[in-house]
């Protein structure tokens, strides 16, 4: 799955996702990726977020919407991402998932849930400082 956020120099924001979902799913099953607020969410007055992982679990918590609302309330993107992951972790401590967050000033962050075999989450960033895609990573919590 890819989840992507784009912000232009005026703070206009868009979000998108694309996936073929989980392998061996029951036919007809849909994950979080095409669900607004679950797979991704964007509001140019606050920020954007995109989630990835076990969509059957993640879609129950609308983590992208939650992260954006936390940024609207003043949280920085890294903190917003962490809180969105923590909310899910309270109920599903071993879920597989991660989220990226960005605000309209160009600050960004990410978070993931630490599970056996998944301790670090990698994501890509390109901005006017880098002018090329940079591989970033975050330790899972």
């Amino acid at each position: 799955t890819i989840g992507m956020l784009a912000v232009d120099r005026d703070g206009h924001m868009a979000a998108g996702t694309s996936t073929n979902g989980m392998t061996h799913k029951v036919p007809g099953r849909v994950g979080d990726s095409p669900i607004v607020g679950a797979g991704a969410y964007a509001d140019s007055s606050a920020g954007g977020a995109a989630a990835t992982g076990d969509g059957d679990i993640m879609m129950r918590f609308l983590p992208s919407y939650l992260a954006v609302e936390l940024m609207r309330a003043g949280a920085d993107p890294s903190a917003a991402c962490k809180m969105a992951i923590s909310r899910i972790k309270r109920h599903y401590s071993e879920f597989f998932g991660a989220i990226i967050c960005a605000n309209t000033t160009g600050h960004y962050g990410a978070a993931c849930n630490k599970t056996p075999g998944f301790t670090r989450f990698h994501y890509m960033v390109s901005n006017s400082k880098s002018d090329a895609p940079l591989l970033k990573s975050v330790d899972c919590v």
Binding site: A14, A15, G16, S18, T19, N20, V26, P27, S33, G106
Partner: protein
């Protein structure tokens, strides 16, 4: 690290980031950037979890889900369980721009896509067929069904509902190579 413009995406899909970045650098919109970036991954079948030929379902079929959202207008277009169309993010954008709806699903979404000029083609590849064959040979494991007969942790279907519902710990099947 505040700096605009910005493109950020999940997983180390470098070419997708670069594609989106090029759009912004050439004066394109953030919607164009997101569409182009995600489409790049669909073409490249990023880590097998995006695009055609990956994540076959229980019947061996690959279906696609995608979403695009405009953060200025809060318009959204999405498709789920899209069959036989490779450019899922493109269809999602068409849902946003060519309908007043938000989410189209399944076969009807494919018909919409065809009507909008998207090409219908088989999403199956040798790789997805192989994944499906191996799954059948492994007695359909891993398996997402529960409270059905025969026991889905050991047998393939067809399944019938079991008379009683039993609470069991949910197995974690999602991984780096099988995720949303």
């Amino acid at each position: 690290h505040a700096s605009l413009p910005l493109v950020i995406n999940t997983w180390p899909f470098k070419n997708a980031t670069a594609a989106a970045w090029r759009v912004l650098q050439s004066g394109g919109s953030v919607l164009d950037a997101v569409e182009r970036g995600c489409a790049r991954c669909e073409v490249e079948q990023c880590d097998g979890s995006v695009g055609y030929g990956g994540s076959p379902d229980e019947s061996g079929e690959t279906t696609l889900d995608a979403l695009i959202m405009n953060g200025d207008t809060m318009e959204v277009g999405a498709v789920a369980g899209l069959r036989r169309i490779k450019n899922a993010i493109g269809v999602a954008r068409a849902v946003m721009e060519r309908t007043d709806h938000t989410l189209l699903v399944g076969q009807s979404a494919s018909v919409f896509a065809e009507n909008m000029g998207f090409v219908a083609e088989d999403l199956t590849t040798n790789k997805s067929l192989n994944i499906f064959s191996q799954w059948l040979q492994s007695n359909c494991q891993p398996n997402y069904r529960k409270n059905v007969f025969p026991d889905p942790s050991a047998s393939c279907g067809p399944y019938e509902p079991r008379a009683t519902l039993k609470r069991t710990k949910r197995a974690q099947h999602a991984s780096r190579l099988s995720h949303d």
